[in-house]
Amino acid sequence: MNATNTPMDYLPIVMMFLVAFGFVATTMFLTHKLGPKRKTKIKLESFECGIHSEGNARLPFSVKYFLVAILFVLFDVEVIFMYPWAVNFKDLGLPGIIEVFSFIILLLVGFYYLLAKKALRWED
């Protein structure tokens, strides 16, 4: 009942990666070679929606983004724990469900706490 595997079983995945990267690399290379190029000073200027850009792109931005991101990581870690459970769902049976649900319920309490604290609301 123990699953087995060898490193060589990942060969299809490696092939898929190679094909994906190869395709992207070739198309990028070909379009650069095949397309016509007329470089002028105005054409090479960076712009957004036709408006000239001003100042520096590296402006410090609001800490709210960071809060959302860190909460995302926390729940990301929570979800990671569910994969081993899902794969073993049948073997673990009812005890497994109880174990995982107690974990999830604890974190749902946390989620409720976030909602009630308005941590996910953008406006203060």
Partner: protein, 470 residues
Amino acid sequence: MKGLFIISGLGILAMLAEIFKFKKILYPLVLVGILAAYAMTFVDWNPPTDHLSRLDELTASFSNMIRFDQVALAFSGVILVTAFFWFILASHYFENETNITDHFALVLFALVGALMLTSFSNMTTLFLGVEILSIPMYVLAASRKKDIASNEAGFKYLIMGSFASGFLLFGIALVYGATGTFDLGGISHYISNSHGDVPAFFYAGVIMMLIALCFKVSAAPFHFWAPDVYEGSPTVITALMSTVVKTAAFAALMRLFNVGFHHIGDVWGQIMAVVIGLSLVISNITAASQQSVKRMLAYSSISHAAFMLMGVLANKNGFDSISSILYYSLAYSVGSIASFTVLYNVSKDNNGHIEAFNGLSKRNPFLAVCMVVALLSLAGIPVTAGFFAKYFIFTTLIGTPYKWLLGVAVVTSAIGAYYYFKVLIAMYFKPAISTEPVKVEMSHTVLLIITTLFTLAIGIVPGYIIGIFK
């Protein structure tokens, strides 16, 4: 075990208190919960051996991840008593803060980590305990968002603490690589079976874990974070750090090295002896020149860490040295809580400069007397608990090859007495800045009476705690 569940549940309740609007009853609830958890240590003290139900068997150890044996229960008891005192100290502190309930939740979660550290019997629970204890402390250290010193404290603590966690993980990985187990008993078994034929990287792992835990107990030369963090954090949080966190980290270090790595005591013993010597010398000499009482207490906590490490070093046979470490941590925690309570009442502006103590005997004689008892206990002057604490530690060390540490300890303790007396002199012989009496909250008065009596009581009858494991 039951205590751990109670504290975890309390933490989750505290999170929800503001949302479900039972903020008012949260404080008494927490006090009752901690007392209940404390009572559970007595319930678990003598486990029923004849008929264990299946649930008990499951929760008793969780496949030997965590083991509440008598040593663990005793240290949990110390931590819970200290936490109870701490909550009384903190009663009025958070009243002007907006998110009181979050503070409560974080402190309770830190307590969960502390209890895990007293009782782990597997490296995974050790690491999780360290993290559960540390992460709330990082946040609490930085909890005064507008105060730059508090921000600095939190930031420094986080960076240095993560570094120490990295060392701990690296050490665990190397030890696992050699032994193939995370289990403390398994590691000890592996060492005794291999008869010295242990790969070199195993020792590297042990030393890395020693470094990480010495960081957590703030022993020199891994102490550089301690003074800044202690000074920058809000006074009440500093009190928590120097009592609960320290005792927990100590219990962990003791458990790891006296249970897991017991058989290679000669290897880590020499390193630990150097750490102890350095801690004693550096802390006591630096503390003597401090102007801030808070900073001075930080350095004094480093020297107390050295004394408790002596107990770990001396622990060769049986419970003698464990009970003296227990006694030391109790005496130290109670003395620290008392001195931080006085400091909090005397120096409201959070920097704890020694001038704030000038003429305290005139402004509030009660506070001054309590501070005298607390400081005498920390300095180790007879009749107080601190004297016997040091005495028991010294007696355990006598039979070991590390007797030279006693000389260092005695000399540096004499230097240590100087800076404790500096505060006493300020309180009794320096003219006061203002004649206005210092007001003390009723709850703090009660707390100070209890801690002072406690310090004197366990100093007069130390046998109750020393003989606890017999």
